[in-house]
Point group: C2
Chain length 241, copies 2
């Protein structure tokens, strides 16, 4: 499953955060320039991870958080009977590994969905720094709180919804997150497979496929293998909100 990671390099970038194109989406959001420097100094950029490469593995010692600098990632756990269970898809600027904080090991696997670079931040150093830099502590609490909110929200959604609604909520949440990153966009890219989406939504791939086809026939969306476009925003809102 995981391809060779022989070509993954560790790149030391001076002013990694200061000059990062996605810093406003990441931990540095509300840090003072002076504090940014100390954060930058403990960041190690790693990549390129190719599609299918593991960024970290469930059961592996937890040492670092990873900020997604480019690309996209899925995280998943394994059920007792060996089934993959996807816990989330992650976009540029998002933090990976938070579910391991306070744990010895990572509870999930993280795997690249496309060519991906991450910024590794050793957790021990990060929390040390957070003691010295109140802004960083606040930011970390904020990010953790947001993660909890999102997970709870996902829990609320996935349970009682019809297949079509689950799909539209998923697409809409992707759309919103893409908008934060790239502004108004026409096409929402889908770096993950249908199987992954279905798994994430708790549906059979066939059911997902049928739902997408129906939504296209109803003129709500236009969908290709690796992208979606919203056509009827009223219907999108009705189904996703």
């Amino acid at each position: 499953m995981a391809k060779s990671s022989a070509n993954i390099r560790l790149v030391h970038v001076k002013r990694a955060c200061e000059e990062c194109a996605v810093r406003r989406l990441c931990l540095p959001t509300s840090l003072a320039e002076s504090d940014l420097e100390s954060l930058s100094s403990l960041v190690q950029r790693r990549g390129p991870f190719q599609k299918g490469d593991l960024i970290y593995r469930a059961g592996e010692d937890f040492n670092s958080l990873f900020a997604l600098q480019s690309g996209s990632v899925k995280t998943y756990g394994l059920t007792h009977d060996g089934e993959e269970q996807i816990t989330g898809f992650h976009l540029v600027g998002e933090l990976l590994g938070m579910d391991a904080i306070g744990n010895e090991v990572h509870p999930c696997n993280a795997i690249a969905l496309e060519t991906t670079w991450v910024c590794e931040m050793p957790y021990a150093k990060l929390s040390e720094l957070a003691e010295l830099v109140p802004g960083l502590q606040r930011e970390m609490f904020r990010v953790l709180g947001k993660e909890i909110r999102q997970d709870e929200h996902a829990l609320m959604l996935v349970r009682r919804l019809r297949a079509e609604q689950r799909v539209m909520r998923f697409l809409n949440s992707l759309y919103q997150r893409m908008r934060e990153r790239y502004g108004l966009i026409e096409e929402i890219p889908l770096p993950m497979s249908r199987e992954d989406i279905a798994n994430y939504l708790g549906l059979a791939p066939e059911t997902l496929s049928r739902a997408l086809t129906k939504l296209r026939n109803d003129g709500v969306i236009d969908v290709t293998t690796r992208s979606v476009r919203f056509l009827d925003m009223v219907a999108v809102c009705r189904l996703a909100c």
Copy 2:
């Protein structure tokens, strides 16, 4: 729904944390005695909340986290069409309100399931204190990480599982949490209604009822209105793990 809260008192308890029976389950777990004192000083004990009383309301300004000192609580949000969606049941020692960190307002309601006391901890003071007391910061990160892990775990469970399995996982997770608190117990109390459990598991109340009946007929559990007892631990394990 919410009863009068006229009788809810604010009690200032000196050495609130030092002398708390459930401190080992709460934030103070790994704090030094000296640090405990400062934490204690910002705790305000509130109660008694009676069954049905709101502890905080969705949309209310977020100011404080609440540690559950006695009793039990459910948290829930409202969907766009006004449906209650339960996000969690909370036992003694657990922290409420973490999903509001980094937000202006509480995203969920918290309501007492039985007579309940909480320890209110103003978030601003708590995070200030966490800057001074590294142990507290570490502990808070730990608790937040654990919450994320639990939510992700819940997400993994609820999606693809059959009704019977969902029920057993739920009962088992309650059992594990009760064991942490009260050691080996025979009876698992169920302070919440069937409707609440069904809602939490994404099932119709009728389906939950049928599942419980089947599990009883199969000799796996013994169940009364407000409690469950595990009879066949092998079957419990098979269904819940």
